[in-house]
């Protein structure tokens, strides 16, 4: 790769979202914005090797894309296009009102408008995710289709439909006003977290070039927190994603089997990501507005700080799960709390909590409930009952690595005590 090629590639990662976002504001046309951004990068590939890389690649690309849009609108015979051209000529290339000035909710970076519009609740969740990846992260339709294991034509249709709905249903291109912002922020964070988990949990796939959705989610999380530095939950989510992602190198053994948190080789955890995540969590805490992402990040931080599983502060983790439950009851959170309590106060106390969740019928058919119960019974030495629960979990587990893990546990019990 030549220096110019590398510069284009870097500019693509850093500037794509900003250019598309600005062009959408100037033209009001999502397809035109994407097309012209693409043209601008094609022009850069053709010209930068000979002309040299411009001092401000982002500004160069934006101007090139804008001129391209004006060109296309000028050539169009369509009346609406002519009106757009006139409107564009009067639009400043820089967004109105810099950061800190009062605009929509006092924030005016075009990428923020784009994030909030892509994540508008009137769009189907899958459309929000796809649109965010296409327009903001710059993934191609083919890449997004691969990431979600759907045919490219299906994904293309989903994207077209979402863009048409934004245009035809009158979804505004803006950062929502203050009274809508808290709710809409929750929606944006949910999309980023879904993206992250989609990339983190999928441990297999037919395609080796499957784009790394977790890395994209982290990147978008960084953009969001840099644009909205006073949103502790956004910072909390970024911290949570980094602290979770740090464990990735130790999550699977060479055969692709799941390695439990307890058994992971903690020296393989990514120290840089952990350092980053802990610092962000601290920064979020200073706002003194706790929320579910900050609490989950704090739990991840308890694990990250323990160099040895024995050092884990399970009492604190149990307390954090309790605070999570205060914010909104969820049987999965209850189950996680039961695990933490079992670690802090002994498997018998944890088992009582698990049994009460099961008795309430809150998680029917959930393999992790059975697996947790089995694990606690195993620790209590009640091996026959443990084997029964592992068997039940095995029948419910959906993914191959999970089934392998449960089968291994079952085999260990069958081999008798002393073998584990």
């Amino acid at each position: 790769m030549t220096d110019a090629d590398a510069a284009v590639a870097q500019a693509f990662r850093q500037e794509w979202g900003r250019i598309v976002a600005t062009l959408i504001r100037m033209t009001g046309d999502w397809d035109l914005a994407e097309e012209c951004a693409q043209d601008a990068f094609a022009t850069a590939i053709a010209r930068w090797p000979a002309d040299g890389v411009p001092d401000r690649p982002g500004a160069w690309l934006t101007t090139t894309a804008r001129n391209r849009a004006l060109d296309k609108l000028r050539r169009s015979k369509n009346e609406a296009a002519k009106l757009k051209e006139v409107a564009m000529l009067s639009e400043p290339a820089e967004p109105p009102g810099g950061p800190g000035e009062a605009g929509d909710s006092g924030l005016t970076d075009d990428r923020l408008r784009l994030i909030f519009t892509c994540c508008h609740p009137a769009l189907a969740l899958e459309a929000r995710v796809a649109l965010t990846l296409r327009t903001l992260a710059g993934l191609s339709t083919a890449q997004i289709a691969r990431a979600f294991l759907v045919p490219e034509a299906t994904m293309a249709k989903r994207l077209v439909r979402a863009k048409h709905k934004i245009r035809d249903a009158g979804i505004p291109y803006r950062v929502p006003p203050a009274h809508l912002l808290p709710d809409r922020m929750i929606g944006v964070l949910a999309v980023l977290y879904l993206l992250f988990n989609e990339g983190y949990s999928a441990t297999s796939g037919p395609d080796i070039v499957r784009p790394d959705l977790s890395a994209e989610a982290i990147r978008l999380g960084r953009v969001l927190t840099s644009l909205m530095p006073a949103e502790p939950e956004a910072i909390g989510l970024l911290a949570l994603m980094l602290l979770t992602d740090a464990r990735r190198p130790a999550r699977l053994d060479p055969d692709g089997n799941v390695v439990t948190l307890e058994e992971q080789d903690r020296t393989r955890w990514d120290a840089a990501e952990i350092g980053d995540g802990l610092a962000l969590l601290e920064a979020a805490r200073r706002h003194r507005r706790a929320g579910p992402y900050q609490l989950q990040a704090a739990i991840a931080a308890c694990h990250a700080r323990a160099a040895d599983p024995e050092d884990t502060d399970w009492a604190q983790i149990a307390g954090l799960y309790e605070r999570l439950l205060d914010l909104g009851s969820s049987p999965v959170v209850e189950l996680n709390r039961a695990v933490a309590v079992a670690m802090a106060e002994g498997p018998a106390v944890g088992l009582a909590l698990v049994d009460s969740i099961e008795a309430a019928g809150r998680l029917p058919g959930y393999h992790l409930l059975k697996a947790t119960r089995a694990d606690l019974l195993r620790r209590l030495g009640r091996l026959d009952e443990a084997a029964e629960s592992y068997q039940a979990a095995l029948e419910l587990a959906a993914t191959e690595p999970e089934r392998r893990f449960l089968s291994r546990r079952l085999a260990e019990i069958a081999a008798g005590p002393g073998s584990c």
């Binding site: 609406a80 508008h120 609740p121 009137a122 769009l123 189907a124 459309a127 249709k157 077209v160 439909r161 048409h164 709905k165 035809d168 249903a169 009158g170 979804i171 505004p172 929502p176 809508l180």
Partner: protein
């Protein structure tokens, strides 16, 4: 007496197509703008003295947003009413800046607060 005529019909084959194109009849001279398919009906009824108070063609169902209010929380979903036994109990045409404003207006309507739902469909703009 006033009646609302609720137009039911087959959506165009590909909803992503321009809906205006599907509802126009081909003009004899291709250079002329084709006239909307409902125009002859409109002329006939006007000549008959029928009062046509309000009517419009809608954007396709893919642009619909449905809202409901539960415990004061406004719930949005992409798309039209699912097929249910619910019946249309009324309608209103509003003129607001954007979908956010339309959602607010709909969420304040008593039907939304009483367990009902309101489908928000943009009218097809004049082109």
């Amino acid at each position: 007496m006033k009646y609302m005529l609720l137009m039911l019909g087959e959506p165009t084959e590909d909803e992503d197509d321009d809906p205006a194109a599907a509802t126009t009849v081909a003009a004899a001279d291709p250079a002329e703008t084709p006239e909307p398919c409902w125009l002859p009906w409109h002329r006939e009824m006007t000549a008959r003295g029928v009062g046509l108070l309000d009517g419009a063609q809608l954007q396709p169902a893919s642009t619909a947003t449905t809202i409901a209010v539960s415990d004061g929380e406004v719930l949005l979903s992409d798309g039209p009413f699912a097929e249910t036994k619910e019946q249309i109990v009324g309608y209103g045409v509003i003129d607001v800046a954007d979908l956010d404003e339309a959602v607010y207006v709909a969420s304040r309507h008593p039907v939304a607060g009483q367990g009902g739902r309101i489908e928000i469909r943009p009218l097809l703009a004049e082109r």
